[in-house]
């Protein structure tokens, strides 16, 4: 079995779904002839034609709005944000129109909005964002964040088939750094189900996206001191997999939530509140957060490294939990 990169896995998902369903089409800036800023859609226009891989003007409002309109008519659009940061320009369309359409009027919006998110790549404040927090807050939107190549493929295929709008935040740090062997057949990763990236008994690390790999590094580190760490990869941020969260809390009784996003208002707060509500009695220590600092993400390597969560931070948090 040959390994392919996380990036190729995304393209494979797009290719398979476009083969399977003629209603699936891609649209976005430079996705066609050029194959996208990161070459995710490379070759797709040559294969499927200009009507299935559409180069758009620089218009995030229109890209999202047009995807919604086409979705109403039974198409399955996959809209690309050149960088996930620019989804901010379509915030009104997504939160006010797309998220509410089924609820208000019964009109479905089966569409995917995907784009490269995340830092650790010296991208500076506008090419490194983790835009999930604002959308987790929006009923009507789903959000997935794959951390493995397998999930990059499986979640995108599920997202395309979902009957509602799924925001698919792929992590640009993982594009070419992570590889995997794709499961045979029609590989669908279910939306709403977390994954145990590593089983353990002493401390749980709940995370998603690029920091799954830092959590695994931290787990390796901690294993040297005989600390058994469980790493939960959320995969889907909306809806959250409460079952998986509760199970790991009840197993280890100690939790660190890790995210690359800034701390205040990030999803760790939500997860902490759910743990409080659902299994407070099982906690032997407070839930700790390891996250970015609350600043726009700066560009210089020294600054970015300081702001973003690092493996040592996760180790420190786990160690602190063990003092309780």
């Amino acid at each position: 079995m040959t390994e392919i990169t996380y990036l190729d896995a995304i393209r494979e998902a797009l290719t398979e779904e476009m083969e399977r369903d003629p209603n699936v089409f891609c649209l976005g800036e430079d996705v066609g002839v050029f194959g996208g800023a990161f070459k995710v859609t490379e070759g797709l226009q040559a294969r499927f034609g200009v009507n299935r891989v559409i180069d758009t003007p620089i218009s995030e409002i229109a890209i999202i709005g047009a995807a919604a309109g086409a979705a109403h008519m039974g198409m399955r659009p996959v809209a690309e944000m050149q960088f996930a940061d620019f989804i901010a320009c379509g915030y009104d369309l997504l939160t006010n129109y797309v998220a509410t359409s089924r609820y208000r009027t019964g009109l479905a919006c089966p569409m995917v909005v995907r784009g490269p998110s995340g830092g650790y790549v010296r991208g500076g404040p506008f090419h490194s964002q983790n835009p999930e927090a604002a959308f987790i807050h929006t009923p009507g939107l789903k959000i997935v964040c794959p951390s493995t190549a397998e999930d990059a493929k499986g979640l995108l295929k599920s997202a395309i088939r979902d009957d509602d709008c799924v925001l698919y935040f792929e992590h640009k740090y993982l594009y070419r750094r992570i590889k995997g062997v794709m499961p045979a057949g029609d590989h669908l990763t279910p939306i709403g189900k977390a994954r145990t990236a590593r089983a353990g008994t002493d401390v749980s690390i709940i995370t998603y996206g690029a920091t799954v790999w830092r959590a695994l590094e931290a787990a390796d580190e901690l294993a040297k001191a005989n600390v058994s760490v469980e790493v939960i990869d959320l995969r889907t941020l909306s809806p959250l997999d409460d079952e998986a969260i509760n199970a790991t809390v009840k197993k280890t009784n100690r939790v660190v939530i890790v995210h690359e996003d800034t701390r205040t208002g990030g999803i760790a707060g939500e997860i902490t509140a759910r743990i409080n509500e659902q299994c407070w009695e099982w906690l032997d220590a407070p839930v700790l957060r390891v996250t970015a600092h609350d600043v726009p993400l700066p560009n210089a390597p020294s600054l970015e490294d300081f702001v973003l969560p690092q493996t040592a931070d996760i180790v420190a948090a786990a160690q602190r939990l063990l003092t309780y």
Binding site: F25, N51, R52, I54, T56, P57, S59, E60, I61, A62, I63, I64, G65, A66, A67, A68, G69, A70, A71, H72, M73, G74, M75, P77, D92, L93, N96, Y97, T100, R102, Y103, R104, T105, G106, L107, A108, P139, G140, K142, D162, D163, D164, P239
Partner: protein, 340 residues
């Protein structure tokens, strides 16, 4: 009032139909005003008084398989597309059996099968959405057309700009109608745009531009029909400015203090679209007054029946609020303290 071009060729029955839709619009809105005064509606009431020709003449120019997205003052367009008076009243009363099951207001409702998508509040957004609806027509090679309405004020939004530009570049079969009714809430058009006329915006998008008297239902039909024909034959987007006037306040609570004295009255007496069209029907189409009275009676009877049905409609049960945020899961759990 010129019945030139295609409008001139409308069969007599169709010309009477135009009158019927305008009259039904006005009668239904007047009923809504009564219900509003009786505190039977939920939320504000937005009228299209004096703009009925713009809504009706334009929507009359598309086919049943075409799709339109209406705005605040397009009740007439929705009626033509098959929305019924009882749906409209129920929607304003937020009843359990209203098109949105009490979830959204006024004309914010949709039915793809009948070909209409009501707007949402953030102005301009529907232009972007309709770019996508019509993109799907193009991608599938369907000979269908889309029609989207926006106000003079909504032309200032980024969503309008991105939406029409996208549709223009993609040569989507979309007709964009700017209803220039003089005001956006209290803001006169001079504070909305420095352009001489809204149809001047067409060139900037490389699309056809046109402009018509929005209170002349035949002229509206005419200008829209031409644009619809162009769209259907693959010639892309047209931006049409319809010049009309908003005779009521933004909503019924607005006392129009900002309107110069006499302006409303002048439009009411000199330029009411229904009065004008009655004169055309009588003077030029040789319609009998009795025939017009019969249409009026029919409209009233329909609105009466709709009112009765709507008044008998139940309010939604609170917990109904929890369904259909998603297809799957199809229901949100109630908070624990509500299940006690």
């Amino acid at each position: 009032m010129a019945a030139t071009g295609v409008a001139a060729k409308l069969p007599h029955a169709k010309k009477l139909e135009l009158y019927y839709w305008m009259k039904l619009t006005r009668t239904l809105e007047e009923r809504l005003v009564n219900l509003h005064r009786q505190n039977k509606l939920v939320g504000g009431l937005f009228r299209s008084l004096g703009q009925e020709a713009d809504a009706v003449g334009s929507a009359f120019a598309i086919q049943p398989t075409d799709v339109l997205s209406s705005l605040t003052r397009n009740l007439g367009s929705l009626l033509i597309k098959g929305a019924t008076p009882v749906e409209v009243i129920r929607q304003h009363m937020a009843t359990a059996d209203s098109p949105t099951r009490g979830r959204d207001l006024g004309l914010h409702f949709a039915d793809i099968d009948r070909g209409f998508i009501g707007h949402i509040s953030p102005l301009g957004d529907m232009v972007a959405v309709m770019a996508g609806v019509t993109l799907s027509f193009k991608l599938r090679g369907e000979a269908r057309v889309g029609l989207v309405y926006l106000g003079d004020g909504a032309t200032s939004t980024g969503a309008f700009h991105e939406g029409i530009n996208f549709a223009a570049v993609q040569r989507c079969p979309l007709v964009v109608i700017v209803e220039n009714n003089g005001y956006a809430y209290s803001t006169p058009i001079a504070k909305q745009s420095a352009a001489t006329q809204f149809s001047d915006k067409a060139a900037g998008y490389g699309v056809a531009g046109d402009r018509a008297d929005g209170n002349d239902v035949l002229a509206v039909y005419d200008v829209t029909k031409r644009a619809v024909d162009r769209a259907r034959s693959g010639e892309g987007v047209t931006l049409i400015e319809l010049v009309t006037y908003r005779r009521r306040g933004h909503a019924e609570h607005d006392n129009q203090s900002y309107v110069p004295d006499g302006e409303v009255e002048r439009w009411a007496t000199e330029n009411d679209p229904i009065d004008r069209y009655v004169r055309v029907l009588i003077d030029r189409e040789k319609v009998e007054r009795a025939e017009i009275d019969a249409i009026d009676a029919r409209a009233l009877a329909e609105v009466d029946a709709a009112t009765d049905a709507a008044l008998a409609s139940p309010q939604p049960a609170g917990a109904d609020a929890l369904s259909d945020v998603y297809a799957n899961p199809s229901r949100v759990a109630a908070h624990w303290y509500r299940n006690k």
